[in-house]
């Protein structure tokens, strides 16, 4: 006789659980349950739970745990098979989705209640036998029975809706979202189902969709328009993901767009006639360029062709400026032949043009192209090319230096504020950094600096120092050492000037300098360019006295230093009294002053023949300057704008002396001569005679009489020599450290060590051979390609 309290399987299952819970549940799901907020009341639930509980805790053989577990699953499976799947199988499109979502939601509910009813199984039976939990089991049934069967159709339906939306239609976003969520659920704690059953198909469809769209766009749109479309499409897809897809899909989806819209069509877009990248650049369409940059940075190496076009554009623009300069040069050459201005190293227009181009595209690099290194390099490569091209007789390094000279000297025709000057200097230094022959620039710059400083033509000491510090931070202290030395010499010079004045005052009787104002600028040898000293010159006694006094002073102030006077530099203010006592203050160079003084009536002056004319030869002898220099001095005094001296050329075939003195400007005809006229020379001849020009007059009282420069702007030979030395020093340094190197390695090392110029490998080879001859290096006997250091 059985225990009346024992629930049999049949009793418990069929009469209780099914009846009270499972069947009603199915019915509710089938027919809808909108009215109910809760499908089962607590009482109903408790009852079922308890039955289940009891059935699971009864003693064996009445412990129905296993059976209940099996039947739990079977119930769900049957329901799905018999009711759910059929309802989906005959639907399509949006209808299918609707049903799919509904059935999915239902399943959640069913799963939830089943799990609640049979909860006790989860606690012990499931755990003990390591079975899938009730919830998992239920879910799996849904996946294998329903989901796997309909997923293809469902996916297709979703994709269709998405494409409709892409084409501008309105779709039920919530429906799609819910559908997608079921896929996510089907992955059982992973996105596998989502990815393989939905996302993959979506991506393929996306490729197809956009590939087809592009066909139309690419032919009818200009590049800017096309790019706008791309941006719009990207934004739309982003929004799509946010609205109803899994966030993981975003990057893959956008990649699909990148591939179809950008990567595949890049060349066409960049080179489109009338709207491609080059056109955008030529028309400064900066917004479109920004967009282009943004879009193409999305694809691998997408920016490389853009940067290339950028570089070519800059190079062409710069090339135009060079062509313009060469045209100017040619015009100048033609005029030079006619006697006008020749080609000079002063072409501010050219430098400004280059600076403007550089500035414009540097800004573009930073603003439109996000300071991307590809574009920085493009700009750099373009300018490295431009700045080292042939631009006529003078190299760009020379032109750049002369431009700086303009900026830094007084009396410049450009009226620039301090800020503007500084800006120009800063930009010029940028341009400078592209030069390969920076040492040439330095040489010319130093010479020009020295000229500015010694002739008091420097506009601002601060600006000079500023420029030098910019060069220093670009190139290092060694590069600017001499320049700084020059400025320092001047600063020290100020100090000396003060104490020399004091010295003179205190030693008036000794010096007797009295009325002559005299100041000295001491130049430290090595800092300054080498100037000819003309130390054979015969100084007028007054000047001589000055130099002697200064030497005394200097020897007191310093020790072990030798002063070498450089009469080629320096200035004088000479008071000239002409005619009936008209006094003019003449600003001249020292050499000019010395020559002028020779014409004084003062018998104390050398050659002072009391105002009489002096022949060139006699003059040269008495003053003792080289012939070509004397010619230049006399030219400035007798043939230039202010003729304080008269030039008396030797008349052809006749008397050429004092008798024929007349105010003369070098072009008068010798009409009286019946013999053949020698062509009147505009220049100074050694056969000339010169005299004080008593008739000289001028509206201004203070005049500067310029003289042509005695020095070249720089000495190209010197630059070459310095380079040879630098190359040899580098070779020896490298070989000493490495002891053995192949030829190619040595050349490469040398090039990398020389920062201020870039020698031809041939030049390096010549230096290597020279060092072999001088036995610093030898060739390896086995390997002719290798050198060895000879200690």
């Amino acid at each position: 006789m059985g225990d009346p309290n024992i629930i049999t399987l049949d009793e418990g299952w069929n009469k209780q659980i099914k009846v009270v819970a499972l069947d009603p549940l199915e019915t509710m799901l089938e027919e809808g349950f909108k009215t109910k907020t809760r499908l089962f009341s607590n009482q109903e639930y408790a009852k079922v739970y308890t039955i289940c509980y009891n059935m699971c805790t009864q003693k064996s053989p009445y412990n129905w745990s296993e059976q209940l577990y099996i039947r739990h699953g079977e119930t769900i499976a049957e329901y799905l098979r018999n009711k759910v799947l059929p309802s989906l199988k005959n639907k399509h499109g949006e209808q299918l989705l609707g049903e799919f979502v509904r059935r999915g939601e239902n399943h959640n509910i069913m799963n939830k209640w089943h799990q609640k009813f049979f909860m006790y199984l989860d606690r012990y039976h499931v755990k003990y036998h390591q079975l899938p939990s009730l919830e998992d089991a239920g879910l799996r049934y849904f996946k294998t029975i329903v989901f796997d069967a309909v997923k293809a159709d469902v996916t297709a339906a979703i994709v269709d809706l998405i494409n409709i939306e892409r084409n501008g239609g309105v779709v039920d976003k919530a429906l799609i979202k819910s559908s997608v969520e079921i896929y996510e659920l089907m992955g059982m704690n992973s996105l596998d189902a989502y990815v393989s059953d939905f996302e993959t198909q979506l991506l393929a469809a996306t490729h197809t969709y956009y590939a087809q769209k592009v066909e139309a766009w690419i032919t009818q749109d200009s590049t800017p328009t096309y790019m706008l479309r791309v941006e719009k499409a990207l934004d739309e897809e982003r929004a799509r993901v946010a609205a109803y897809l899994n966030p993981e899909t975003e990057s893959k989806l956008l990649q699909a767009l990148d591939a179809e819209l950008l990567a595949r069509r890049q060349t066409e877009l960049l080179e489109k006639d009338g709207s491609g990248c080059r056109v955008l650049l030529m028309n400064d369409m900066i917004d479109d360029l920004s967009r282009m940059y943004r879009l193409f940075s999305r694809i691998t190496d997408g920016l490389v062709p853009v940067a290339e076009i950028f570089k070519v554009h800059i190079t062409d623009l710069g090339g135009e400026k060079i062509t313009q300069r060469l045209a100017r040069v040619e015009t100048a050459a033609k005029e030079g032949d006619k006697g006008g201005e020749k080609e000079s190293n002063d072409d501010p227009q050219f430098i400004k043009d280059l600076l403007a181009v550089h500035d414009k595209y540097l800004t573009m690099v930073n603003v439109q192209f996000g300071s991307n290194t590809l574009f920085q390099k493009a700009l750099k490569d373009a300018f490295n090319d431009l700045v080292n091209r042939d631009v006529g007789k003078f190299k760009t390094a020379d032109l750049v230096a002369s431009f700086c000279d303009r900026l830094l000297k007084t009396g410049s025709t450009e009226k620039l504020s301090d800020n503007e000057v500084e800006e120009y200097l800063e930009k010029t230094v940028q341009l400078f950094s592209y030069l390969t022959d920076q040492d040439l620039f330095a040489e010319i710059y130093r010479n020009q600096l020295s000229r500015r400083l010694l002739n008091q033509r420097s506009a601002s000491d601060d600006m000079e120092r500023l420029m030098i510090s910019k060069l220093k931070s670009k190139c290092g202290a060694q590069f600017t050492a001499k320049m700084e030395g020059m400025l320092n010499d001047l600063a020290i010079g100020q100090e000396h000037a003060v104490s020399f004045e004091k010295f003179v005052k205190e030693n008036q009787q000794l010096t007797g300098l009295g009325k002559l104002e005299f100041s000295v600028q001491v130049l430290t040898t090595g800092h300054w360019p080498t100037y000819k000293s003309y130390d054979t010159i015969n100084l007028p006694p007054a000047m001589l006295k000055c130099t002697q006094v200064y030497k005394e002073y200097y020897d007191v102030k310093t020790s072990k230093r030798r002063l070498a006077w450089s009469y080629g530099q320096g200035n004088c203010n000479v008071k000239g009294t002409f005619g009936k006592g008209k006094v003019f203050e003449l600003q001249v160079t020292t050499l000019q002053a010395i020559v002028m003084l020779a014409f004084n009536k003062d018998p104390l002056c050398p050659g002072g023949l009391a105002g009489a004319p002096i022949s060139f030869v006699a003059l040269q002898e008495s003053v003792s300057i080289p012939e070509d220099v004397l010619k230049r001095v006399l030219h400035s005094l007798a043939c230039g704008k202010f003729k304080v001296l008269k030039r008396i050329p030797q008349a052809t075939g006749g008397a050429a002396d004092s008798g024929k003195v007349s105010a003369f400007d070098g072009e008068a005809e010798g009409g009286e001569n019946k013999k053949e006229k020698a062509p009147q020379s505009k220049g100074v001849l050694v056969t000339d005679t010169y005299a004080f020009n008593d008739q000289f007059t001028c509206p201004m009282r203070k005049i500067r009489i310029p003289m042509s420069l005695l020095e070249e702007s720089h000495n190209p030979k010197r630059v070459e020599e310095d380079r040879s030395i630098a190359i040899e020093a580098a070779i020896v340094r490298i070989m000493k450290a490495r002891l053995t190197l192949s030829h190619q390695q040595l050349v490469a090392e040398v090039l990398s060590q020389l920062s201020f110029f870039r020698p031809d490998p041939k030049v390096i080879k010549r230096r290597i051979e020279a060092l072999i001859d001088r036995e610093y290096l030898e060739r390896d006997q086995e390997n002719q390609n290798t050198y060895k250091y000879m200690a």
């Binding site: 030829h743 190619q744 041939k762 051979e769 060739r779 002719q784 390609n785 290798t786 050198y787």
Partner: protein, 219 residues
């Protein structure tokens, strides 16, 4: 005693003995003295060397064996000369103390017997010996006449071209490095220049030669 009669192989050093007797230091000395200038007893200049050549019936201006002999004797201290010590020591090395003995050695002085390393050494010697006084370089004209004496078309397939090139080049003097490198060049670079690389370490003179060949080929 000259025991084993060695078979003269082409690349073996010259046979030590096949003539008159052993080395006699006194004879060597008197040989020297017969050649020297009494005013300059320690150094045999080209005059004295020419005397020797006469008795050996060699023409010093065109016979390479003269140079080979001087090389073997070891005339290294002063270009164009040989010191007494070098002469006598050299003779001893050769085991020759008479003109007759030297004459018998003449066949062995053919530079064809020298292997590559030996020849390189000899070749270098020729340059050093042919300098004038303390000059480190040699005039182009001398080089042009010297090269064909020392080199033949086998050792130096570039020789005929190079000589032509030298006539037109602006280089007026040739350095040891250039001289030396020319031989290497012949070893390494084919006559048609097909294996010459662009960025080689050859002296500039040879780069110019290569250029000259190239433009001559185009013409």
């Amino acid at each position: 005693m000259f025991s084993s009669k060695k078979v003269a192989k082409k690349d073996a050093p010259a046979p030590a003995a096949s003539g008159s007797g052993k080395f006699d230091p006194k004879a060597a000395d008197s040989l020297y003295e017969s050649l020297m200038d009494p005013d300059d007893p320690d150094l045999l200049s080209m005059e004295g060397i020419s005397k020797l050549c006469e008795s050996l019936e060699l023409d010093p201006s065109s016979d390479v064996r003269v140079l080979v002999l001087l090389w073997k004797l070891g005339a290294v201290s002063k270009p164009g000369n040989i010191t007494r010590t070098e002469f006598t020591t050299g003779l001893q090395k050769l085991q020759a103390s008479s003109v007759d003995k030297l004459k018998s050695l003449l066949p062995s002085l053919d530079p064809g017997f020298l292997d590559r390393t030996q020849f390189r050494d000899f070749y270098k010697f020729v340059f050093q010996f042919s300098r004038e006084g303390t000059n480190k370089t040699i005039e182009k004209e001398i080089i042009i006449s010297l090269l064909p004496i020392v080199l033949d078309n086998n050792r130096a397939p570039h020789l005929p071209h190079f000589l032509k090139f030298l006539e037109s080049t602006t280089h007026q003097r040739i350095t040891l490095d250039q001289w030396d490198s020319f031989l290497h060049f012949n070893h390494q670079i084919k006559e048609d220049m097909s294996n010459l690389e662009d960025d080689g370490a050859w002296p500039l003179l040879l780069d110019e030669y290569a250029e000259w060949r190239k433009s001559a080929a185009k013409a």
